[in-house]
Amino acid sequence: MRSWLSDSVMAGVTAAILLMAAMPGAAQAPAYRAPRTADGKPNLNGIWQALNTADWDLQGHAAAKGPVPSLGAVFAVPPGLGVVEGDEIPYLPAAVAKKKENQANWTTLDPEVKCYLPGVPRATYLPHPFQIVQSQQNILMAYQYAGAVRVINLGAPTKAPGDSWMGWSNGHWEGDTLVVDVTSLMDSTWFDHAGNYHSDALHVVERYTPRSADTLNYEATIEDPKVFSRPWKISMPLYRRVEKDAKLLEYKCVEFAEELLYGSLRKKSSN
């Protein structure tokens, strides 16, 4: 009995160590050379999706009761090991209270609940696929959620005409890695349902690195001196949707959010 217990504890500890070891391993681009496009660039074309729970909480979290008790096990919070390097988000002392307040009230405050555009990096790890359409001059990323989209300029970097929900993206290649510099992001988006947030000073540098025929490694370095004491990093694999004829479909979620946003203004049924 005793030995069975200690064995299983040991097995658990070993598994945890292996998992922890695997995470930074995923972050380091393995020696894999991506197939090339006709113009000789690494070919990132495809429909991709994250397979994790970062949209619930970037940091490690246990499973928890969902926000709508009547939905029982279906919409409970799924557990996850987290995608933040070191599992710590370095909030400035003055910024912590807002994170907590956001988290406590996320079902009404989270912009995703209202079907608002998700911003970067959240668009990448929503529980929806997105598609990369890669050209010589630019790369279009179309996200299924809310029909969000952005076009990454690969030419000489250009300046944003103004702040926007999806920001302004300038990209370049570093070996097999697509590096995207994202600026001019509005302060109205969040990182997850756990209320992790940022200000309009957010600056995101993304790195997309092919790691096998059907996986990419995604890294985002997040910098926001108004909210965080130092830059911090998230990383995760993205998986190719390999099913035949995979396709982005419409997820025009406005109509799903109308009851929440306008329900109180409906005509009361006449008595």
Partner: protein, 344 residues
């Protein structure tokens, strides 16, 4: 009165929202008609992408003075002479703000819009132009949308009757455009929009052509690998688009529309074929054929030259800043309450 005031305030807010993003085709470009482009373009060859497909990429504007339907008095006249076109253009450009010109689609410079300072928003009527010699965007001897079949008129009348008296009950009774679900300007097929015209950006990757419409960031990623449509049970606001290449032309076939995203009174049987052909460095010919046997006795076709223009394409977020629905519904509730008090 209060409702009217609220509604028009909301409409004004919408115009202000979109207006600063107005774009006109790059100045200095001469109008090139489809006919001109093909005859003068002998030495011109369609550019290719690195994988050998016709290159449709760039930022395009479909702004034009050509009206959708042909003015009645022109009968079967499909084309203006160059001289007639020059005279019409002159009348538009020299016209007073708000003055209508028959045979010209003024868009934002129309009389309804004169309460705004059009120059501030870039709607300068001296920049307006025709993009072909056509007298209407709809091609063929009729130049107008065919008469609607009786069954379609009945269907649409029944829908309108159902809504009557309930227009302000809740968000679902408001238009798809107001709700930021399907703006009139982004409906497929794509036709020049009343306000600022459309900016369309095309980005091509191997096996796909993506089409980003600036208005409401509406995007279609169209596969060109010859696959079939998604199952008929899946109905989509923008339909399901699949494409293939025919010579230098991209042909896009769209079905699976919802019954609510009807185009000009069509039903969910709408079948749309769009054809994209580069005609010159600065010109794309966009042609579409609309077929719906439950609405029209025969298919009909329109052709719109697109002009290459400069970006940037702005982010056009709609739902995120939509105060129109709550303002309209709130106004209706206030009015009902006032009426109830008065009645007591």
């Amino acid at each position: 009165m209060s409702r009217r005031l609220l509604v028009s305030t909301a409409a004004l807010a919408a115009v202000i929202l979109v207006a600063p993003l107005a774009q006109t085709p790059a100045a200095g470009q001469t109008p090139s008609s489809a006919a001109k482009a093909t005859t003068a373009g002998k030495a011109w060859t369609t550019p290719r992408t690195p994988d050998g497909k016709p290159d449709l990429q760039g930022i395009w504007s479909d702004n034009t003075l050509t009206p959708f339907e042909r003015p009645k008095r022109l009968g079967a006249k499909e084309f203006y002479s160059d001289q007639e076109l020059a005279e019409l253009t002159k009348r538009v450009r020299e016209g007073r703000q708000g003055e209508e010109v028959e045979g010209a689609e003024l868009g934002a410079a129309n009389p309804q819009a004169i309460r705004y300072d059009l120059e501030v928003y870039g709607f300068d009527r001296t920049k307006l132009r025709y993009t072909s010699n056509r007298t209407s965007l709809i091609i063929g001897p009729e130049g107008v949308v065919p008469p609607m079949l009786p069954q379609a008129r009945e269907r649409n009348a029944a829908m309108a009757a159902k809504l009557k008296g309930h227009e302000f009950d809740g968000p679902e009774q408001r238009s798809l455009s107001e709700r930021c679900i399907l703006l009139n300007q982004i409906r497929i097929p794509m036709t020049p929009a009343a306000n600022e015209g459309n900016l369309l950006q095309i980005v091509q990757g191997p096996g796909y052509v993506s089409l980003l419409h600036e208005i409401d960031h509406s995007t279609r990623v169209i596969p060109t690998d010859g696959r079939a449509h998604v199952p008929q049970s899946i109905r989509l606001w923008q339909g399901d688009s699949v494409g293939h290449w025919e010579g230098n032309t991209l042909v896009v076939d769209t079905t699976n529309f919802t019954s609510l995203s009807a185009y000009r009174g069509s039903s969910d049987k709408l079948h749309l074929v769009e054809r994209f052909t580069r005609a010159a460095d600065d010109t794309m010919i966009y042609q579409f054929t609309v077929d719906d046997p439950t609405t029209w006795a025969k298919p009909w076709t329109a052709e719109i030259p697109w002009t290459k223009t400069k970006g940037p394409v702005y982010e056009w977020a709609c739902h995120e800043g939509n105060t129109m629905i709550s303002t309209i519904l709130h106004g209706a509730r206030v009015e009902e309450e006032a009426a109830q008090k008065k009645g007591k």
